[in-house]
């Protein structure tokens, strides 16, 4: 049984590919969805930001948010194609009850050259804690280890008896 639904797809794109040109990359991504029979309702850049954790060595990424309607049967093939796409770092494909009005607003200017360098040095680590604090922590750890040993011994004794 064929059934059409509305979906929302958040695509996390590799900034190395984004720097080569935003519009061609965006059209290629939208074309991928259309190839599987999806009807694009909206597709625009959501944000370019630092990632919470680096993916494939990339600390930053560009998010493309796409709203589309598609047949439920064709979604498996679309997912497979998305997984094979090398310009995609991650994607999240979820059901969407209602497309927000902000999705239909025009996309703002995006200067690809203004993206910060991905290989920017990370901020210097904070100074090491004082020696006394670290020694205290070490002592606590040793004490905990000692307790563990004691417990192990006791359990062994109980098992033996």
């Amino acid at each position: 049984m064929q059934r059409t639904r509305t979906y929302e797809c958040m695509c996390l794109l590799d900034n190395r590919e984004v720097r080569k040109g935003w519009q061609p990359l965006k059209e290629a991504m939208l074309g991928l969805f259309q190839k599987h029979g999806a009807k694009i309702l909206s597709g625009k850049r959501w944000d370019e930001r630092r990632l919470a954790y680096s993916i494939k060595g990339q600390p930053r990424g560009t998010y493309l948010l796409i709203y589309f309607t598609a047949d439920t049967q064709g979604l498996t093939a679309l997912r497979r194609d998305l997984q094979f796409n090398e310009s995609l770092l991650r994607y999240l494909l979820v059901d969407c009850d209602e497309v927000p009005q902000t999705a239909y607003e025009p996309e703002g200017d995006f200067d690809v050259n203004a993206i910060p360098a991905d290989d920017a040095p990370s901020p210097a680590p904070e100074a090491a804690p004082e020696v006394e604090v670290s020694s205290t922590r070490g002592a606590g750890k040793e004490a905990a280890d000692a307790d563990d040993t004691t417990e192990t011994t006791e359990s062994t004794t109980e098992a033996g008896s």
């Binding site: 958040m10 996390l12 919470a52 954790y53 991650r90 999240l92």
Partner: protein, 99 residues
Amino acid sequence: MTSTTSSTGGARDSGPRDGGPRDGGRRSKFGRFGARRREVLPEEPLDYKNIAYLAKFVSANGRIQSRKRTGFSGQNQRKLANAIKRARLVALMPFVGRM
């Protein structure tokens, strides 16, 4: 031989006013950490893209806070957890640690 005496605080007459047992001895889930019952507002939806709002319900280690702390209903707590997990998948929020 040591005998342990369990102190349950039974000497104090606790009641609903001080967060004690109510409705047949069942303790209320809410109010124990200062969290009041919280509703989801239309301007602050529980969506994975609303990271600034979701970050309020995550501990310093990146763990999702319990209903006792968030004050959400069961349904909204599930929405919150799903939104945070989705945000983690697309690297909007960390799995572990601070943002």
